[in-house]
């Protein structure tokens, strides 16, 4: 083997990548099912409020990025928290990352099955997606992070397609009324939780800190990413409200896809198929990053973080992820009809990690600073 290492830190990437990554990681599976959990027009305010909450988390994260520990990667964490607790955290992280991979992959695969290949055996699809992700990941961390630009460029424009739906003649402003909640139920709380969970993901960027040339206005760049996501959420939600009306929206399973599907083009019918396939680029990017993190976390857990990375080790991690996805798909995802246990778990896990990780890092930084 040559000196090539998956976690090679030769290049230091510009902060613009942070913007793009924050945005793309927030625009994964949850955004597709977002309107189902929100339904009511007053959720527009909730999106904005939760967006500010997310901004708080990002502010705390930026404190971490600006600390001296961030650019050291694993050593930084070990220095701050002690090697033993880092290993424990990495072990917990393994589960969380796996859960995240599971939900976004299975969710995406389900959509492909629903809209493109109704008779597809989903396990094949999982295998193909993971094979691609394995290829992406095996080329190393730096190219994978660079891949975010392609993922962004090939998926961000999709939002623009929906502009059309804001100006349909059948739309009335009344579709957005009433704008204040009159019955705030447990479901509404769940909507709040869901949005926050959908916005989660940037907390994993702390693990990628060594690859960025941090310190330089990182907060600004993260904020732009977050703001863009919130803008997209709002836009998508309003467009879907206009398109379905709040009452019909309740009955739709994949509202975003249905909206896309309604679009017409002179060359192809069913543009949704093309758009879903386009969206694969974003998913491949995110899953690859998460698998790489999974590999890194498992190396830390197994006390091997100082050794040379191997392709076979990475391939082994990919196969573990695949087996895990396969089992989850067979046992949980296919069985679930409306209330999906994995999805529920991920909603909670995403929201918790997004609030806890920044807080935890921030407080430990503060403590270290005082002692």
């Amino acid at each position: 083997m040559s000196g090539f290492s998956i976690f090679d830190k030769t290049s230091s990437l510009h902060s613009i990548y942070v913007t793009l990554m924050v945005n793309r990681i927030q625009m994964l599976y949850f955004v597709i099912i977002l309107p189902v959990f929100l339904i009511y027009p007053y959720m527009i305010w909730v999106i904005i409020l939760v967006g500010f909450l997310s901004q708080m988390s990002i502010f705390l994260l930026s404190k971490w990025f600006n600390s001296i520990y961030a650019s050291k990667g694993y050593e930084g964490f070990a220095e701050l928290l002690g090697e033993r607790s880092v290993r424990v955290l990495a072990f917990i992280g393994l589960g969380l990352i796996l859960l995240k991979i599971t939900v976004i992959t299975l969710g995406y695969v389900e959509i492909t099955q629903h809209f493109i290949f109704p008779s597809l055996n989903t396990n094949w699809m999982i295998l193909f997606i993971l094979l691609i992700c394995w290829y992406v990941g095996s080329l190393g961390m730096a190219p994978t992070i660079r891949f975010v630009v392609i993922a962004f460029l090939s998926t961000a424009w999709m939002v623009l397609l929906l502009v059309n739906f804001l100006f349909q003649p059948s739309n009335t402003i009344h579709d957005l009324f009433p704008l204040v909640p009159f019955d705030w139920t447990i479901e509404s709380w769940k909507g709040v939780l869901f949005i926050f969970s959908a916005l989660s993901g940037p907390e994993y960027l702390v693990l990628l800190a060594p690859w960025f040339n941090t310190r330089k206005k990182i907060l600004k760049y993260m904020t732009i990413g977050n703001a863009f996501t919130i803008f997209e959420y709002l836009f998508l939600f309003i467009a879907s409200l206009f398109f379905f009306g709040p009452h019909y929206l309740k009955e739709i399973r994949f509202p975003m896809m249905e909206v896309m599907r309604y679009m017409e083009s002179p060359v192809f019918e069913r543009i949704d198929m093309i758009l879903i396939s386009f969206y694969l680029i974003n998913f491949v990017f995110a899953i690859s990053i998460f698998i790489l993190l999974f590999y890194g976390a498992s190396r830390i857990t197994l006390k091997k973080s100082k050794e040379q990375t191997t392709k076979s080790g990475f391939a082994f991690c990919c196969s573990i992820v695949f087996i895990c996805l396969f089992i989850n798909n067979e046992l949980f995802w296919k069985e679930a009809t409306n209330q999906n246990i994995l999805l529920e778990l991920e909603i909670w896990a995403g929201a918790l990690t997004y609030i806890l990780i920044p807080l935890f890092l921030f407080t430990s930084l503060k403590r270290k600073g005082r002692v």
Binding site: F117, M125, Y135, F147, I150, S277
Partner: protein
């Protein structure tokens, strides 16, 4: 890997033994022995006016006979001076001490002059410079703009570049590569502008080449590439001096190889393959349009046939009713599935393309026309292929020629086949998986260790002015950021 190392070991040993034997002092006998059985080598003995004997040794086809007569033989005959070498009217006379050196000079068009009295060997460079005249480039034709192109003569090529960039900071480093061919290679760059990393990487890569024959610049490129198993060229090959001058000025390095009209420019990015010298001659709006058209046609040529296969095998829903109406009708009588149908048609097209390329120009054109029209028409009438497919194959073939770089056109077909297979397998999803694999591959590629998708990933916003569009030259105030030039501004006075 183990084997390789062993081989090189043996090679080194042999070479060492050869040099040992050749380092012995030169005698006329030794020289005679070296040129034994070389019919074209000549040994001529003459006497000067004061009866000094001198021997001339040269290889006849390599030297300029007229100049030898005029500059060496005539002056020497009339020579009355003490030292023979003082009589010769050439700029440089090299004193030679070893046999190896003597052979080297001899084989490069030098005339060896053996002074029998002083027992000293001199060499005079009188090489025959005949070669092709400067002609118009045939691989990169443009309507307007400079018409000259490189020839096989490296000195002439350097002249053409130096005339365009008359700077002393334009450096040219010489390397000799290839144990058999001893090919002269010149690395050119502008000092103080080109990123020193590129220069040192290129230097290191050239020095590390250990091979017997380097006959062409593409061969050199093969040894300098970072990724051997990629379909994409990692060096820009061009025979246009203006392209080279532009590349040098932007902060790239240029590598010239003797006896090749094509020089290498590096580092390049994927997007360079879509840039034509004419882009900078046309009006910027027109040039931008053409460039966008090129990217579009590249995608079209890659995707049209796979999309046809994907739609007809998996996604009949995606075909508009009007088109489906035509398609169902034509396809319902065909014996082959869309995948095999298009695979065969694409292969046929490749055969025709390749055949017409290898034929002499005029019959090649004929072959192309007849092959295209007749075979296409006949296969439709015979019921082997549908009209729709013939149209699509035709368009995608034409579209593939829009890419200015011919090497990519070849790679194009192969990528098309891979995507075709994926399309027949997984439909539209397969096509996108193919595209993703392509992107991922390009993303990880490097040229001179610089990312291949440079202004996009990694992202350099300013370079986008000359990427998918060709912005007005006035606006391109800085040199491409992706190349990290030492002099950022194109303007000498910053505005």
């Amino acid at each position: 890997m183990f084997k390789k190392r062993k081989n090189t070991g043996i090679g080194n040993k042999i070479e060492n033994s050869i040099t040992k034997t050749k380092n012995t002092p030169i005698t006329l006998e030794g020289l005679r022995k070296s040129i034994e059985k070389m019919d074209d080598a000549k040994i001529i003995e003459h006497q000067t006016q004061n009866s000094k004997l001198f021997v001339l040794i040269y290889v006849e086809p390599l030297i300029d006979q007229a100049r030898v007569n005029e500059a060496v033989i005539e002056p020497l005959r009339r020579c009355t001076k003490e030292k023979i070498s003082d009589c010769i009217s050439v700029s440089e006379i090299i004193d030679i001490s070893t046999l190896k050196e003597a052979e080297k000079q001899l084989m490069r068009g030098g005339v060896l002059l053996f002074d029998t009295i002083e027992n000293q060997l001199h060499a005079v460079d009188l090489k025959n410079t005949t070669g092709r005249a400067i002609e118009t480039s045939e691989t990169e034709t443009i309507l307007y703009g400079a018409k000259d192109s490189f020839t096989e003569n490296i000195e002439q090529n350097i002249t053409m570049i130096r005339r365009r960039i008359p700077l002393t900071s334009l450096k040219s480093e010489k390397f000799m590569v290839g144990s058999q061919t001893e090919t002269k290679i010149i690395l050119m760059y502008i000092e103080g502008l080109t990123n020193p990393d590129f220069i040192s990487i290129a230097r290191e890569k050239i020095e590390n080449i250990d091979y017997d024959q380097i006959l062409d610049s593409s061969q050199l490129a093969a040894f300098m590439e970072d990724h051997t198993h990629s379909m994409f060229p990692q060096f820009q090959q061009t025979d246009r001096p203006d392209v080279c001058a532009f590349a040098l000025g932007a902060g790239k390095v240029t590598i010239l190889v003797d006896n090749t009209p094509f020089v290498l420019n590096a580092p390049i990015s994927f997007f360079h393959l879509f840039q034509s010298p004419e882009d900078y001659i046309n009006r910027w709006i027109v040039a931008s349009f053409l460039r966008v058209l090129r990217y579009l046609s590249f995608m079209l040529s890659l995707l049209m046939v796979p999309i046809y296969v994907a739609l007809t095998t998996h996604h009949y829903q995606m075909i508009p009713l009007q088109i489906l109406y035509v398609l169902v009708d034509t396809r319902s009588r065909l014996p082959l599935t869309p995948f095999w149908e298009s695979l065969l048609m694409l292969l046929t097209l490749e055969v025709i393309k390749e055949a017409s390329l290898r034929m002499p120009t005029k019959s090649g054109q004929m072959l192309g026309v007849i092959g295209g029209i007749v075979v296409g028409q006949a296969s439709v009438e015979a019921g082997f292929a549908s009209q729709v497919l013939i149209v699509i194959v035709g368009i995608s073939a034409i579209a593939s020629f829009l890419v200015p770089n011919y090497l990519i056109t070849k790679a194009n077909t192969l990528i098309q086949f891979i995507i075709l297979i994926l399309a027949s397998f997984l439909g539209i999803m397969g096509i996108f998986m193919g595209i993703i694999l392509l992107f991922v591959h390009l993303n990880a590629l490097t040229s001179l260790r610089q990312p291949y998708l440079a202004p996009v990933a990694p992202f350099y916003g300013k370079d986008w002015l000359d990427l998918f569009i060709r912005g007005p030259l006035r606006w391109m105030k800085t040199r491409p950021e992706a190349l990290h030039p030492l002099q950022k501004w194109r303007y000498s006075r910053r505005r």
